[in-house]
């Protein structure tokens, strides 16, 4: 008996329909379109994932990917326009909440849609270099909702107003702010920068310009610096709570420029309260604060150093003329050493042991002797 018969290769008929009939595509598309409607209306539990996935799969397999993709764009755009209207209709404070709620809905719907259209995402889209579903959803949201004329300006002004309120002491809903800002960041960092950060920095500069003007008229250097420090820390804390971490350096630059750099000379030379007075009165805390704030601005420390140097030379000259009157060399040397000690301590404790200040101190005393 011969060995087992050679297995005959049996190619069975395709079980899948090989219909390239456009009516077929139309039918499948309407099923999918209906599903997308249901998803946006929170009615997905009645839908069968497998059926929708299979329909999308068949459409792409039979070369109707184009129809599927453009249908998706049209349907999503229509839904987003409606969503836009409902957000616009929200009154006052509810505007941001409504926006946030619709954004969450959209994200969820987008994920579901991407899941059922996964086959198209995997095959059709890379082949045609079109935008993948998830990114497409974000772009459509940006174009139809965020950049809709009625929403764009209202959104920005609400965000800026809330930040202003927080700066004047009110408590705001930080969680909501964080969600909205994160939404802008998710859509694209350029959206965050153009639609929010740039105007935010401009408005902040204006705010701090006015505030610093107000303070400098009524406060002495020590108090002014205290207030400046508080504001600076406040801004840093605000960033950690609900802004993009990259904004920290931008907003601190604004505060530093408006509150410190613009008023530096006036603060240092303020009569009875300036830097020299701080030295004479041993105001360690104020000196430390000044050092920490001034190091943040260009030339802050070099100017401070120069004032210290000329002050030391003044002291030196004083000592020398006094010594000539006293004719007591021991006393002179003692007082010289005392002064050196005093300034050593100041540099040590208040100026972070900054070498450049140490050097300036040493060279000033060398100049005397």
């Amino acid at each position: 008996m011969s060995n087992q018969k050679k297995r005959n290769f049996h190619i069975e008929a395709f079980k899948h329909r090989v219909v390239v009939d456009p009516k077929y595509a139309e039918k499948i598309w309407s099923i999918l379109e209906h599903a997308i409607h249901e998803i946006y209306n929170h009615n997905a539990s009645g839908l069968s994932f497998e059926e929708l996935y299979r329909n999308a799969y068949n459409m792409v397999l039979h070369k109707f990917g184009e129809k599927l993709y453009s249908g998706l764009v049209t349907t999503m755009t229509a839904h987003l326009k409606e969503i836009s209207k409902s957000i616009e209709a929200a009154q006052g404070g509810l505007f941001l909440e409504e926006l946030n709620r619709k954004w969450n809905d959209h994200n969820k719907a987008l994920q579901m849609i991407r899941d059922i259209l996964m086959y198209m995402d995997r095959t059709y889209i890379p082949n045609t270099h079109k935008t993948p579903v998830h990114e497409l959803g974000l772009n459509l949201w940006r174009d139809n909702v965020i950049h809709s004329s009625k929403i764009q300006s209202r959104l920005l002004s609400m965000l800026l107003e809330l930040i202003h309120r927080e700066r004047t002491g009110e408590v705001i809903d930080r969680g909501l702010m964080r969600n909205i800002i994160k939404m802008l960041m998710d859509i694209g960092s350029s959206v965050y920068q153009e639609d929010f950060e740039k105007p935010f920095l401009e408005v902040s500069a204006e705010f701090y310009r006015r505030e610093s003007q107000k303070f400098i008229e009524c406060c002495d250097t020590g108090d002014y610096l205290k207030k400046a420090e508080i504001r600076l820390n406040e801004e840093i804390e605000r960033v950690t709570h609900f802004l993009d971490v990259k904004s920290e350096v931008n907003i601190t630059n604004v505060v530093e420029k408006e509150m410190i750099a613009n008023h530096m000379m006036r603060l240092i030379h303020m009569e009875n309260y300036g830097l020299v007075n701080m030295f004479l009165d041993d105001k360690y805390e104020d000196l430390e604060r000044m050092y920490n704030l001034f190091r943040r601005v260009p030339n802050g420390l070099s100017i401070t150093r120069d004032v210290m140097t000329s002050h030391l030379r003044e002291i030196g000259k004083q000592l020398v003329t006094d010594a000539e009157k006293l004719k007591d060399p021991v006393e002179f040397v003692q007082r010289l050493l005392d002064e050196k000690d005093k300034y050593d301590n100041i540099i040590n404790q208040a100026f972070c042991n900054d070498k450049t200040f140490q050097n300036a101190l040493n060279s000033s005393f060398e100049y005397l002797t």
Partner: protein, 98 residues
């Protein structure tokens, strides 16, 4: 096998295969099905019907899932495919993203 860890796959003819969720999720498609937000019917009931996959193919696919898990753990063995199943199996694999 606990009920919560299993999922039922149903072929075109109505034959049911109950397998571990971990095995089923070797298929990206099934994984998405079960983890998609929004509660599609399949995730709710823990069963998926494949009207276009026959029982023979579905059975082979389930075997593949388990083989794949073994392979991931380091045990290399050959996965035998009967030649006459090849075409349909490939189509199903493409569909299930496996």
């Amino acid at each position: 096998m606990k009920k919560e860890d299993t999922v039922k796959l149903i072929s075109a003819e109505g034959m049911e295969f109950v397998i571990d969720k971990e095995a089923a999720m070797v298929s990206q498609t099934i994984r998405n099905m079960l983890t998609s937000p929004g509660g599609f019917a399949e995730a709710e009931h823990g069963e998926v019907t494949f009207p276009e996959i026959s029982a023979v193919i579905l059975e082979k696919i389930c075997q593949y899932f388990y083989w794949s898990l073994q392979y991931a753990r380091g045990k290399e063995t050959e996965f035998h495919i009967e030649p006459e199943l090849t075409l349909e199996l490939m189509m199903a694999a493409n569909y299930l993203h496996t």
